[in-house]
Point group: C2
Chain length 336, copies 2
């Protein structure tokens, strides 16, 4: 006879109407303090919990947000997800997670399906076409992370700044011919970083030696090693840390010492960057913070009322100087 306790049970216990109980939770100020007390009391005593489905049915809101990532096994994403989920928690939302497995088609389908089950979406490093993203944005509040599309809210990273810091760092160490190992050309951030590298290297009067595009994996980095050897460079900038780690690994197998023969700089500052041997010089990007920020922003977008939310953020990046970069072997002694 018990079943889940409903709003009517509480109403009966507090000797009021269901409507008043409802008000007590939604607009407490619109109910007399005394009766409010009585109702809250009864609710607590009966351990009443509003039925989400019923609320949903009537309000059209679910209290859920959706998180979409290309691949949770990619060490870049767990922190981002953690940031989103944590903030969602604080704001009273539950988070639905979807992994698209880097499959563009799946991504579109999954996002479409997911969008109908949530009040808003956070897409991490979305692979979808700009137009699809814009279309999606029409239907649900939407925030992108690590992807920029005109007209869509986004939390991005200052990649140009990060790349610039890498370039200045390597230049200061006396490097002149610098290789760039790119990620997949289908990746938005790879394109951005690649372009930034080309621009910055040119601006600083250094020689860019393009090494090519490789899979953004440890093995992808490894397979770049031969080309790096052939490129006659003293330093290499790599699309991301995982690839950089792979490159260092393979270079070492070839008998090349990193950093003594060749300096290597990664990107992302994943946890393992500092644990590897030697620890990787890289660019730190605030992943978890980005997640939290994106969620905060999404919350503002979902707010029925509220002021116009502040503009999307572009988070700072920071070079972390560790063990895989040193003064160029051929460089003149410091002081020149």
């Amino acid at each position: 006879m018990s079943g889940p306790v409903t709003i009517r049970d509480v109403a009966r216990a507090a000797e009021v109407s269901p409507a008043t109980v409802s008000r007590t939770f939604l607009r407490p100020e619109k109910v007399d303090p005394a009766t409010r007390e009585r109702i809250l009391d009864a609710a607590a005593r009966l351990d009443y919990r509003p039925n989400r489905a019923a609320q949903s049915l009537i309000t059209g809101l679910t209290g859920n947000i959706g998180i979409v990532v290309p691949d949770l096994a990619n060490p870049f994403f767990p922190s981002v997800v953690k940031g989103i989920q944590g903030r969602a928690e604080e704001l009273g939302y539950s988070a639905l997670l979807v992994d698209t497995d880097e499959d563009l088609k799946r991504e579109s389908e999954l996002v479409a399906a997911l969008s109908r089950q949530v009040d808003g979406l956070v897409l991490c490093s979305a692979r979808m076409a700009d137009e699809d993203l814009v279309a999606l944005r029409e239907q649900r509040p939407l925030v992108l992370i690590n992807r920029q599309v005109p007209g869509v809210a986004a939390v991005t990273f200052d990649n140009e700044g990060g790349i610039a810091q890498e370039v200045v760092h390597l230049k200061a160490l006396g490097h002149r011919r610098i290789g760039y190992v790119a990620g997949p050309s289908t990746s938005y951030s790879s394109r951005v970083r690649q372009a930034a590298a080309t621009a910055e290297l040119a601006r600083e009067g250094l020689v860019e030696v393009p090494i090519g595009s490789f899979a953004p994996s440890f093995d992808g980095g490894r397979s770049a090693a031969e080309k790096v050897l052939l490129a006659d460079v003293t330093a290499v900038m790599v699309y991301n840390d995982v690839m950089a780690l792979g490159l260092v690994n393979q270079l070492t197998r070839y008998g090349i010492s990193v950093p003594n023969d060749i300096s290597v700089v990664g990107y992302d500052d994943i946890e393992f960057a500092s644990m590897s041997n030697p620890p990787l010089t890289t660019v730190r990007i605030p992943r978890e913070h980005a997640g939290a920020l994106a969620m905060s922003y999404l919350h503002a977008l979902m707010g029925s009322s509220g002021p116009a939310p502040e503009p999307p953020a572009r988070l700072p990046t920071k070079l972390v100087f560790r063990g895989t970069s040193v003064r160029a072997p051929s460089a003149p002694p410091a002081g020149d």
Copy 2:
């Protein structure tokens, strides 16, 4: 006037009653092929999507499952989550993810809140008390991963087997005095592995040298280094890979060569185990598979009907012989 298209719109378009439309989706065989065709057609034309909230309200089911992890930033969990989510996807469920931040109190609260929003739960490496887990199981279908509690379904790993393989491996390499670096004593799997190590080492007639308990982090592993040095051992078994990596790192700083002076064996086979230098000898456990299996099992538990689901699984573990373990320095030449 359009709004979301409802079951009545479809009914009108197909000139049938709403009930028939409903049946067409739930029990297609109970409706005439001709009309079914007509309805499906209309539904497709109108792009009808059933309203989940309404379905939920009536069936009491949400179509969601909950995933709880202690810390997504711990490299152990993303794969597990990926396995769960992927299988959930296939089975038609959406996955709600919660990160408890290793906070026992939060875990209880979050799980309680989450449990009312889902049809079933998968808890990864739950920290909660046995009794709470049993209580939870009364309310919702529940599957544990990497934790065993009497009366609760679970997917576990054959830790005893994994530890036994480590011991045999080290014994074969001529090691006699072997250190064991434990994780936090609050961790279920740490206790299990510790106990297994003690038992196996004894059985093989080797000397166990307990190094102590440390945080299950890179720094935790590092801080075990001094004690390892003092322990006069030729090999160390470590609770998990992250710690093992930290230990190797710090040992190296002390001028100790791994594996030449001391062999180190980790556990878990996280991605970075094979990327580190030297690559870590460790025990592989099928994390993603465990996730998928747990989800399959949960599905069976949630099935209103269906046969009694097969018993929970205990997945095999496998030693992966890589670069941090070699023949003991003091060992007599092979062949003795």
